[in-house]
């Protein structure tokens, strides 16, 4: 097997430079690559285009990069819950491209599966359709949307092996596998890194061929955005 292990976040992001286009996995704060985001903040790389379903919160996730004005453009489906984001957007410091969540996911899939474009009905008849090719199949209109072209995809998995195979836990899977397939260079941080052979080949979510660098992350905070509970039955 080919060994994809790097020492840590710093080495993993070593060649991400100003102006790069990054995909960042996660949904809300769930399943985000915490270690790599912190390393990007430390490195201070600027003018990034970030493709990520959400933009974090003020003091966590991509919000940390926004605070340092490292992000030039966000491509997301939903960017609420972030006051600094709002300030930068309204002041014109930050560009935002809002696209439907399914379109976001499928444009990642398209990149990972070598399909230059896909068709989706999402956004037909809305401002999302402006300037896009519309095509009718079987009586229904679809927009043609292009595969993403990202320099780096940065994802967070639960377990990974030295060959780059990844397994995600519960709904922290979300965008991580489709982004892992879509980066020119894919970086995976995992909660537990094991030797090749320790993961069952039948239950790999992302085959190692899609992953270029992998490392075991540390100090995961795994913050909860909306803690909703019911009373314990006694």
């Amino acid at each position: 097997m080919i060994n994809k292990v790097v020492s840590g976040a710093e080495e993993a992001i070593r060649d991400i430079s100003d102006g790069a286009t990054l995909m960042l996995g996660g949904f809300g704060l769930c399943g985000i690559p915490e270690n790599c985001i912190n390393a990007l903040v430390t490195k201070g790389v600027k003018s990034l285009t970030c493709i990520s379903n959400n933009a974090g919160v003020d003091d966590f996730g991509i919000g940390l990069m926004l605070k340092q004005r490292q992000v030039k453009k966000m491509i997301s489906s939903y960017v609420g819950e972030n006051a600094e984001f709002e300030r930068q957007l309204l002041s014109g410091e930050l560009e935002v491209d809002l696209i439907p969540q399914g379109t976001l996911a499928t444009r990642c899939l398209a990149a990972g599966y070598g399909m230059p474009a896909i068709f989706t009905p999402a956004g037909v008849g809305t401002e999302v359709a402006e300037g896009k090719e519309i095509r009718n199949f079987n009586g229904k209109d679809y927009l043609m949307e292009y595969a993403f072209d990202a320099d780096f995809a940065i994802v967070k998995a639960w377990k990974g092996d030295t060959a780059g195979n990844l397994i995600f836990r519960s709904t922290s899977r979300n965008f991580n596998p489709v982004m892992a397939m879509a980066g020119k260079i894919t970086i995976a941080e995992v909660e537990e890194l094991v030797e090749a052979g320790e993961l069952d080949p039948d239950y790999i979510h992302t085959p190692g061929i899609y992953v270029h660098r992998i490392f075991q992350g540390k100090d995961y905070k795994k913050r909860i955005e909306q803690r909703t509970v019911r009373k314990s039955e006694v």
């Binding site: 489906s77 990642c108 989706t120 037909v124 008849g125 795994k222």
Partner: protein, 220 residues
Amino acid sequence: MFNKEEIAQRIAQEIKDGYYVNLGIGIPTLVANYIPKGINVVLQSENGLLGMGPFPFEGEEDADLINAGKQTITTLPGSSIFDSAMSFGMIRAQKVDLTILGAMEVSENGDIANWKIPGKMVKGMGGAMDLVASAKNIIVAMQHVNKAGESKLLPSCTLPLTGVKCIRKIVTELAVLDVLPEGGFKLLERAPGVSVDFIKQSTAGRLIVEGEIPEMKLNM
């Protein structure tokens, strides 16, 4: 007049045995509490879960297990987890039988606006545009009039659209209405104590009233 819980309760009656259902944020989320006993329904959460269960007990929250509203939740026996591409794949392929979501405006030809108010901070459409463009059966849960007292059932939407000609049914605090394929809001039921005239006054779009309009009933 109905309150939010009652709107949710009335919508729950539209859910049939064997349905896969996607519930939006707000009133739609409440629908889960009123699914009729004895029928089997699976809730889809578009962040990648089929078989969404109730909120976890205190102390059992799992940061890795949330719904599309980012709330901590649980799974059920028979649940499955998948990635976002498959989640919206099954939505586009119309494997989800019913979508219930909120709206700012619905037009009499079934257009919906629920994501953007010009001049205000836009948070994004999330999965709403995918859901309304794909679902074969969409019910809107909303207030009949907005906070300024203006009707949200309009001849045509004034806000930026989320989807066109897609809404089939609307349940508000005042009424249950079908959106007819040929256009127009057909009044089906009125909330207890609400007159047809009041519904007429509260509906800016074309309201179609035929025969006696029964009161909404909640199967308890």
